[in-house]
Symmetry: C2
Subunit: 222 residues, 2 copies
C-alpha cells in the first residue's frame, strides 16, 4: 500500500512540473508532441523524415530520450535543429523534470514545434505527462496487429497513431485494417497516419498535419 | 531518496520470492527461462514454433505475462501444454510473486521446461528476478541493429539472445553482423541464435539447446 501512495506522490509532483512546462511552451507558442512506441518502431526515422520535410517550413526543436547512448541525438543533429539528449541511465520513461531541464538548454525563441522522443517503451511512458500538447504513438506493422489490445493504456492516452513500416506489410503477419480497427476500438478519437520511412509514403500528410497544428500555436493545445 | 529506499525494499522482497520459486523449480528438476523483448519482437511466435518442435520430446509448461488480454495464452493453449496467463493490468513487468501464484496453478510433476513469457518491454523486466535459470532476450531485425547499445541492461542480464525475423533482413535497415557485434560488446557471454518463425530457420538449433539444458535438470541452473 505504501508503494502506491509514494507512486501517487511521484505522479502528482510530475503533473505539477508538466503543467509548468506546458505554460512555458504556451508562452512561446510552441506545439509540443510526446512521441512514444516500442523500441525500434521507427520514432527516430519518422523524426528524420519529418525534419527533412519541414526544413525551411517550420522551426523545430527536439528532445531525445534514451535509456543509454546519444545515437538518436546524433542522427537528429545532422538536420541542424536544436536538439538535447536526455539519457535516463536505466530509467524506463521520461519525466517532466527531465524535460524541464532539457528545455532550459534550448533557445525557445522562434521555435514552433517541439518533438519529444520518449524512451522506447509501450508501457511506462503512458503514465507521465511531460507538458506536451498531445501524445503520438507509433506502431510498426512488424509488431503485429494486436498491440493496441495488449497495450491499451498507450493507445488510450495518445491522440495520434502513426502506423509505420507499411512497406513491410507483404512480408509480415499484420493486417493494416485489423491494426487500425483494434486501435480505434481502444480509442475512437485517434487520428491515424500510415507511413513508410523507406519509401516516404505518408510523410507529407503527417507533416502537413503537424504544420497546421503548429501554426495554430501552442495555446490552442494547452 | 524515500522512493529509492522503497524501490530497494520492493526488489529485496522480489528477490526473496524469486529464490523460493527457484528452489521449487529445482526440486522438480525444471529448467525455467524468462523470455523478454520489446512488444512484437516475436516471443509468442517463437514459443509456438518451440512447442511444435518439442512436442513428444519434452514436457513443457508456460506462464504468459501480458499487460492486458489473454491472446497469447490462447495461442499457446492450442499446443496442449499447461499454460497460465498473468494479466498485469497496466504493470510493466512480471514480478516473482505473480510467478509464484501462477506456479501454484500448474501441476509441475513431470514438467522439464518452464517458459515464462514476460511483458513486452525492453527496460523494466531486466530488474526483476522471477526465479528462472536464465533470461532469453529476443531482438527482432525490424527494430534495427542498435538496440543492444540503447537498452544495455536487458542484454547484460540475459544469457541467450535470439535474433528473430531474419527473413526480413533484405527489407529492413539492420545488419545481422552489427546486431550480433553490438550485443556481444555489451555481453560477451551471450549464446546467440538466429531464427525466423516464418521460414522456421534456426528453430531446431534453439530447441536442441533447450532440450539439452532441460535434460541436465533444473539443479544445474539454480
Amino acid at each position: 500500500m505504501s508503494v502506491i501512495t509514494i507512486e501517487r506522490k511521484v505522479l502528482e509532483k510530475n503533473d505539477q512540473v508538466a503543467a509548468e512546462n506546458r505554460e512555458l511552451l504556451r508562452k512561446h507558442g510552441i506545439f509540443a508532441i510526446n512521441v512514444v512506441s516500442s523500441p525500434g518502431a521507427g520514432k527516430t526515422s519518422i523524426l528524420e523524415r519529418t525534419l527533412e520535410h519541414l526544413k525551411g517550413r517550420l522551426p523545430v526543436a527536439v528532445i531525445e530520450g534514451d535509456v543509454q547512448t546519444d545515437i538518436d541525438a546524433r542522427r537528429v543533429a545532422k538536420y541542424n535543429v536544436p536538439a538535447v539528449q536526455i539519457v535516463t541511465a536505466g530509467g524506463c520513461h521520461l519525466e517532466a523534470n527531465l524535460v524541464r531541464d532539457a528545455l532550459g538548454n534550448i533557445d525557445l525563441k522562434g521555435i514552433r514545434l517541439l518533438v519529444i522522443e520518449n524512451v522506447g517503451n509501450l508501457v511506462c511512458p503512458s503514465n507521465y505527462d511531460l507538458g506536451e500538447a498531445l501524445k503520438v504513438v507509433v506502431a510498426s506493422t512488424t509488431e503485429g496487429d494486436d498491440k493496441p489490445l495488449k497495450y491499451p493504456a498507450m493507445f488510450r492516452n495518445s491522440s495520434v497513431l502513426i502506423i509505420n513500416k507499411i512497406d513491410l506489410v507483404p512480408y509480415v503477419n499484420c493486417k493494416l485494417e485489423t491494426l487500425r480497427k483494434n486501435a480505434l476500438q481502444i480509442n475512437p478519437a485517434l487520428t491515424v497516419f500510415e507511413t513508410s520511412c523507406t519509401t516516404g509514403a505518408g510523410i507529407p500528410a503527417w507533416c502537413d498535419w503537424l504544420e497546421q497544428k503548429s501554426n495554430v500555436g501552442g495555446t490552442a493545445h494547452s
